[in-house]
Symmetry: C2
Subunit: 607 residues, 2 copies
């Protein structure tokens, strides 16, 4: 099984050393009867040009990895039945990253597709065949950086820079023909493992330790992409311990890796995770901006700040993080999450590209210089747990190459490559996948409020599960109203945006419906623009979401998926139906108990 590459029947053999060699192998097997000429032009880097030549042969011109991307483009276009017109392409972003949250013991934080492909029993350990299969998947989707370990770096993950460095180097080598470079999550306090009494980024011994370490690491892996860092977040060590700011921390590492062309990717997921629920002054969505915006311009040239797409944490509906708009003098990456932590655990269907496109409506593509996505991969036979979750990995790759990617075309292309259905069936599946996010949104937390989820595992409804907890994620629903006022009259979060964005959300009477409860505290009898009350809209969405899930299940049953996909899809759809019913009924009951307002249409709400 090789997901959207099912028609590449022959496994990639061992022993190929460069992307060009791999490209030749793939082309020779895909089109044994077509002559394809590779012309390497190193200045083109990852870009390529495909030219049909007289006589039916084809030339792919590109940089050392560009020829490989061109080869996959040609192969997949032809698999899709597209004729070979001349085409030229280069990626928008130089770093198109997959961040794995894999732990040395083989577990994956927020992993829903089995265990780690890279780690077992505390050590790096992999199946070379699967690594080549994975490399092929990544390259064919245009992805070029793989951070293989969890950003929460717990022992013995530190050994990747110590005793396990030779193994890490071997893994980097395995990915090299695919144009995939490794990145490593590092422990900011790691110098203290070498007897240095501090991890203060301004301490000379600490700086020297990181320089030495970078030297050792890049000597083994000259093309290592860099270090990924989660600092001062959810218990992780960081510069705050020493009274330093995050520019101090990031720049110290940047200096160490700069001689080798390394990058420091510094995550901006910093907030008070010990908030008192009684405290109404603190508003967690404001945290990233408050911790970073004032440092704009202070970061070294090889530092990228990696900012989650929304101000909370990968909820179904969040506005674009204001930090992505507010640091013009800093290199930024936007972080997405393929792992369906809050979006159905790769049980419920949830195709993400419609959501990503919404983000780009407010984010000019030039605001950022990289995309990153938390991996949805594991060692399940199908890599992503749910066979249809692979669409998120593939379309993420297309988006990272070209943010202008059309969602419908991208999803249809994935369907065609993966299943090769007849046109009506392909259309049905495409449409179903494109609608799946909105359906999931309808039956879960209403209108941008988020967080009504079971704590810890984040699957299934729990309307007040986080209400009195330390995480800063409150809805404050009472018998009259629900939500937090985040305008300037409330917590002031909205003031972090440029006015052209802020003005769209400020007035509840003009704020887009789906963001209403993110930005406003509203009475249940608030009259929405379509004439419905807020409470009626909540009921309607939930009943509709459940009905649409049932319809989706019916439609899926009618599609000719091959085994084993058919069985897995059926079994997961059963679970999604159960989940959707729980969500629908529990959310409706929760608000009905509070508001006392019946459903206008008399549908069953349980007491």
């Amino acid at each position: 099984m090789n997901l959207w590459l099912t028609r590449l029947k022959e496994p990639v053999p061992a022993g190929l050393e460069t992307p060009a060699e791999l490209a030749r192998f793939e082309l020779s097997r895909a089109f044994p009867d077509v002559q394809v000429e590779l012309a390497e032009q190193s200045a083109m880097g990852e870009g390529y040009r495909i030219d049909p030549l007289p006589g039916g042969s084809i030339r792919i011109t590109g940089g050392s990895t560009g020829v490989l991307y061109g080869a996959y483009r040609l192969i997949l276009d032809r698999f899709c039945g597209e004729t070979a017109a001349a085409v030229e392409s280069a990626p928008k972003y130089a770093l198109r990253m997959i961040d794995c949250w894999d732990n040395p013991d083989g577990t994956i934080e927020r992993g829903y597709a089995g265990r780690s492909l890279f780690f077992r029993d505390g050590k790096l350990s992999w199946d070379p065949l699967r690594i080549r299969e994975l490399g092929r998947l990544l390259a064919s989707a245009g992805l070029n950086v793989l951070c293989i370990n969890n950003v929460n770096v717990h022992f013995p993950a530190q050994l990747l820079l110590e005793d396990d460095l030779p193994a890490l180097s071997a893994l980097a080598e395995a990915f090299r023909p695919f144009g995939v470079r490794l990145m490593v999550s590092v422990d900011f306090s790691q110098p203290m493992r070498s007897g240095i009494p501090t991890a203060d980024p301004l301490d000379p011994a600490v700086r020297e330790w990181w320089k030495q370490t970078a030297g050792r690491v890049w000597a083994e892996i000259p093309d290592l992409a860099g270090f990924l860092v989660k600092a001062d977040s959810e218990g992780r060590p960081g510069p705050f311990t020493y009274g330093r700011n995050h520019a101090d921390g990031a720049n110290m590492l940047a200096e160490a890796v700069a001689p080798y062309g390394g990058t420091v990717v510094w995550r901006c997921f910093v907030y008070n995770c010990r908030q008192d629920w009684r405290d109404t002054k603190t508003d967690r969505p404001k945290a990233a901006w408050e911790n970073y915006a004032f440092l704009d311009g202070e970061f070294a040239a090889n530092v990228i700040l990696q900012v989650k797409h929304g101000p909370f944490d990968f909820q179904v509906r969040e506005p674009l993080s204001p930090l992505l708009l507010g640091m013009k003098k800093t290199k930024l990456a936007m972080e997405l999450q393929l792992a369906q932590e809050y979006t159905g655990h790769q049980i419920d269907l949830y195709t993400m590209i419609p959501m990503w496109k919404e983000l780009y409506e407010e984010l000019p593509a030039d605001s950022i210089m990289s995309l990153a996505a938390v991996s949805n991969l594991g060692d399940d036979a199908n890599y992503t747990g749910h066979p249809l979750a692979a669409v998120n990995l593939y379309t993420y790759g297309l988006l990272a190459w070209d943010p202008g990617t059309d969602p419908e075309e991208a999803v249809a292309r994935w369907c065609r490559l993966t299943y090769g259905f007849a046109p009506a069936q392909e259309k049905a599946l495409t449409s179903l996948l494109l609608s799946s996010r909105r359906i999931y949104e309808k039956y879960t937390a209403p209108l941008g409020i988020g967080w009504m989820v079971n704590p810890h595992d984040h699957y299934g409804p729990n309307p007040s599960g986080y209400e009195y907890d330390l995480w800063g994620t409150y809805h404050k629903a009472d018998r009259n109203a629900v939500g937090i006022d985040r305008t300037e009259a409330g917590t002031g979060y909205l003031a972090q945006y440029p006015e052209e964005i802020a003005k769209k959300y400020r007035d509840p009477n003009t704020c887009p419906d789906l963001y209403l409860l993110f930005y406003h505290r509203l009475s249940y009898t608030f009259r929405m623009r379509d004439g419905r009350t807020l409470i009626q809209r909540i009921y309607d969405d939930h009943f509709e979401g459940l009905e649409e899930t049932r319809a989706m299940a019916g439609a899926l049953t009618g599609l000719p998926f091959p085994e084993p996909d058919a069985g897995v899809i059926r079994e997961r759809m059963e679970k999604q139906l159960y989940n959707a019913r729980e969500w629908c009924d529990i959310i409706n009951t929760f608000f009905h108990r509070l508001s006392g307002i019946p459903d206008e249409r008399g549908r069953t709400i349980y007491d």
Copy 2:
């Protein structure tokens, strides 16, 4: 450290073989100058008589264990400063049990005092010194049966009847001088480990397997007290799998152990733990009665049904289980829980004997023939985690010996033995311990409603944590009212009681306040007998509970506890103060958000 036996300075030596030998050792060290004569009369069993003799010597007459109980009685009376008048005593119940929920890996289910004293790394493993210390504690409190493994019998606990039987026998031998007999929790499906394809209690091969097994076990441990069984409960195997009832299951085991004088203790904690929260017909408190009452008279003579004291699961306030009153032709044990699962995790102070005495107000002592209590023990240096939690172990022993025990005297005796404070301090500590349960009750779930606790770990507030879950524990609070009507007009639970009890609770206008929300669904404006509304009573109780906790903390600070107790008490009291504030504020906020009714006295309730 030996808790209430601090004045027995010398450890019990190895090598003592009988209770009489142990009694002589203890008496010789406690009163080197007094001649105490032991006169064994086997017909007296566990009973004893203490007679002062002319010339200052003393005679203790009793059965083989009775002389030991007499010796501890004499020693502890004298330590308490009581003069030696003639006294005669015998235990009310023949089985005075401690049920440990220890797992072979050394963890303890619902354990809050460290790890197991009996198991490590999958095997029986113990420190002989600590076993003798524990035996001394149990014997001095009059306790005589110790079930050492969790009623949830997961592999490899089954090995206790297989490869680990010799080790179990050695442990039984270690406890023998203390008059403590072991009991073992067994896996109802254990015959299937020997290749028998069923555990059907009516299957001849199954019956034969248990007979053979009992023969093997009792050959090694002739005084084993019996088997404890949790069947068909929370995923455990049992007779229901085979279409048999619990009399079939229990009697089959009873037949196997009868030749050796063994007892089968069969737990009645059977209910639907996969309930749909939408289902208002099922009411979990009715379950034990429904599963067992119709079997009254069907159980063999050596079967004891062990019934939790309340119909739910060890909540702070539950009525007496109706099953304890409804099986006149069946031997019953009442199960208490020293482990503070729902009652503060041995962090919050919670002295239980006032609660136990309330149970006896409705339970004639002759209704049951045994008491059992889930252990609060672990390998912490002080055995019970919180030094003051030891009062529950000691007073449980007094109650199991004599249900007429006076709570205040029992607690005062424990204080005097443990700390030997001056009279005013002893009185303060006694009073504080006696009040601790009511204080805890005040700041937690109101008026008998229970369950507003964090799921799984059961510490800290979570008003709706179980509201939409599968466990059958719902309060259904809405904007107008809270609670479940369990009268005949509601779920009918009340009909399981004799009328003389039912009539006390039926009418909300006469139902005792503290049970109001267990039995009734009431509006927040319901007017209680003292003139307060229900909602005001909820607010008042919570503010008072928090204030009283603060007062308790202050009072504790003034008492001259020795170290290490003082430090542990201080640290746990800090945590209790935090917990009490969380409970107070969260419960008040929860009900204020629902009801919209302000506190009449204007105290702070957070929005």
